[in-house]
């Protein structure tokens, strides 16, 4: 069969990345702002103070703009699964289909019903029913995100499934194992808390603009108070979930973990690079390497971060590629051999099925489905597509920098909220114009951090689309590269237009302010 064109893989990846990145511009603000609205409205219902109603309605309008422009942008990703990634879509079977179907049903019934009450129900339903609707929208939006993140978590760490050679699909044998996979759970918690942090900074930043313009002082200070408390709690929890996510990456995706630290040679008492600049790629004694032009390290911290043990061995990229007998790290060459055997068995199975040799077909199927074969051979199936072990190394600089940008900004956000709360406590926030300017210019930063997190998750996972089972090159449909290029540019135009529309409408509405803000 004809080899797949590498430019087709690259353009398909670029198209998916473009769509996912644009989609993710809209989602996190929805996830976080929904809870901020719920807090604000709860204060209104509790205190009866109409100013809180005005505050809630203003932020609800902002929420509505973002929700309306972002809604359904994720459906394009599903179009791409079916068209550009048909091998992958078929191979994952109901592992992906079930969570996405649940997401669609939940999003429709929960969000669409209660969003209508939230926007249209002021003065038409009771205060308490309205408040319950707002809370349900917040929970519904976040639970919707759960399902797609469960599917993504499964791609990083496949669990709760077995591969059926008859249907050529992975079939779910344990729904709860898929849902409560530790990678999926931590990914979900880390992702939604990043949305909470982003929305909090957005609210603080926009409120700071009002204070800089000497407008709506009480509205702005009250908004900053709610957002800063929520933001501080969220950003602290974000650091906690980031730490636990990193431990699972170290355990389940050690190559990604090594790449995000630029660690080529594994070691015990491995230091964490707090800050570093990578040099150009070198080949020394046949092995890849990136020197650091400069770096600032925290001794033993990487071992502690990964295994909660300062003396623990953290495998480097070269250990994972070439193996390390001392620390029982299997080489990629060995995995390629095992993967080839799995693929040969699948081929033999196909031939037996086609020839109608029932006895041979049954015996191969029994071997194929045996636990021994699944755990020792089929789990390396994807390695059979590589003709040299170095192909399993992801883009190290992209992984390294996206990780460090995300972590640096994560800690910056904690400090940001602490300062905001201290200034509020001292009642000097509106006079601290330096902080108001910092807050306004902080608005893009959580977007950068959030996108960096996704780039780390997806680029760091390469060359895999499903870790160890399916490389990206095997997942892509045999389309013409030109058709993928055309849709890439169509999406670029469509999404850029949507983003411009969002920003223009948001700015117009923010300038109007809370007095006349309506839906």
């Amino acid at each position: 069969m004809e080899e797949i064109n590498s430019s087709l893989v690259d353009w398909s990846r670029a198209q998916f990345a473009l769509t996912a990145i644009y989609h993710w511009f809209f989602v996190p603000l929805t996830l976080g702002l929904a809870f901020i609205l719920a807090f604000m409205e709860s204060i209104y219902v509790k205190t009866g103070n109409p100013e809180w109603k005005k505050i809630t309605k203003f932020w609800m309008t902002i929420f509505g703009i973002n929700f309306a422009i972002g809604v359904a942008t994720g459906i394009i990703l599903e179009f791409e699964f079916g068209t550009n990634w048909s091998n992958y879509s078929w191979f994952v079977g109901d592992i992906f289909g079930t969570p996405l179907a649940i997401e669609g049903i939940m999003a429709f019934f929960l969000e669409s019903t209660f969003i209508a009450v939230m926007f249209f129900g002021w003065n038409k339903v009771s205060k308490r029913f309205h408040l319950v609707s707002t809370w349900l929208v917040a929970f519904g939006a976040n639970i919707s995100a759960l399902w797609i993140l469960v599917a993504n978590g499964w791609m990083q760490f496949p669990a709760g499934m077995y591969f059926n050679p008859d249907t050529v699909r992975n079939e779910m044998h344990n729904f709860w194992e898929v849902l409560f996979s530790p990678v999926a759970v931590h990914k979900f918690l880390h992702t939604i808390t990043s949305g909470f942090t982003l929305a909090s900074i957005f609210v603080v930043g926009v409120s700071a603009w009002f204070l800089l313009k000497k407008r709506e002082r009480s509205f702005a200070l009250k908004s900053i108070l709610v957002a800063s408390i929520f933001g501080l709690i969220s950003s602290l929890y974000l650091a906690f979930t980031g730490d636990s996510s990193a431990r699972y990456v170290a355990e389940k995706q050690p190559m990604k973990f090594a790449a995000m630290e630029g660690l080529y040679e594994g070691r015990t008492n491995a230091p964490l690079v707090a800050f570093g600049i990578l040099g150009s790629k070198k080949i020394e004694e046949g092995k890849q390497h990136h020197d650091f032009l400069m770096k600032l390290e925290i001794p033993s911290m990487l071992s502690i971060l990964a295994f909660q043990d300062a003396k623990a061995f953290v495998p480097g990229i070269n250990d994972l590629v070439y193996g390390n007998e001392k620390y029982r790290v299997m080489s990629t060459s060995e995995k390629i051999v095992r993967g080839n055997l799995a693929r040969e068995t699948l081929k033999e199975f196909k031939e037996a099925k086609e020839s109608g040799n029932t006895a041979h077909y049954d015996s191969i199927k029994t071997v194929f489905l045996s636990e021994h074969f699944q755990k020792n051979y089929f789990c390396y199936f994807g390695y059979s597509y590589f003709n040299k072990p170095e192909m399993v190394i992801p883009n190290v600089p992209t992984s390294f920098y996206s990780f460090h940008i995300m972590v640096f900004l994560g800690f910056y956000f904690i400090a940001f909220f602490v300062v905001a709360l201290v200034l509020l406590y001292k009642d000097t926030l509106d006079k601290s114009r330096w902080f108001l300017r910092v807050a306004l210019w902080a608005i893009p930063l959580p977007y950068i951090a959030s996108q960096a997190g996704w780039i780390l998750a997806e680029v760091g996972r390469q060359p895999w689309v499903i870790q160890d089972y399916m490389p990206t090159m095997a997942a892509v449909s045999r389309l013409s590269t030109t058709s993928v290029q055309i849709t890439f540019f169509l999406f670029a135009i469509l999404f850029t237009a949507l983003l411009i529309a969002e920003i223009k409408i948001l700015i117009r509405q923010i300038k109007i302010g809370p007095k006349e803000g309506g839906h």
Partner: protein, 87 residues
């Protein structure tokens, strides 16, 4: 228009003017849409976006690779198996 659907119901000798649950919901939505300010622009954007996505992109560019070529799951699985083995 929807007000025409309001009906009278005779129960225990009393005549009640009562809107059905369905009509109350309909009224709720119609009123909500009528009183929208920013929302009208947003709905326009949503309709244009959904039209582009489903009437143009889905129809002309994203037909579904396997569905377009094969009628049944068996043929689809044979195609994918061949791809997995031979690629």
């Amino acid at each position: 228009m929807y007000l025409k659907f309001v009906y009278c119901k005779k129960k225990d000798g009393m005549v009640l003017n009562k809107k059905s649950w369905f009509h109350k919901v309909l009224h709720f939505y119609v009123d909500g849409f009528r009183s929208m300010t920013v929302g009208k622009t947003l709905w326009l954007i949503i309709f244009i976006k959904v039209f582009i996505m489903f009437a143009i992109l889905k129809v002309f560019f994203f037909k579904g690779f396997l569905s377009e070529r094969y009628d049944n799951d068996k043929d689809k699985s044979i195609h994918v198996l061949e791809e997995l083995i031979s690629r």
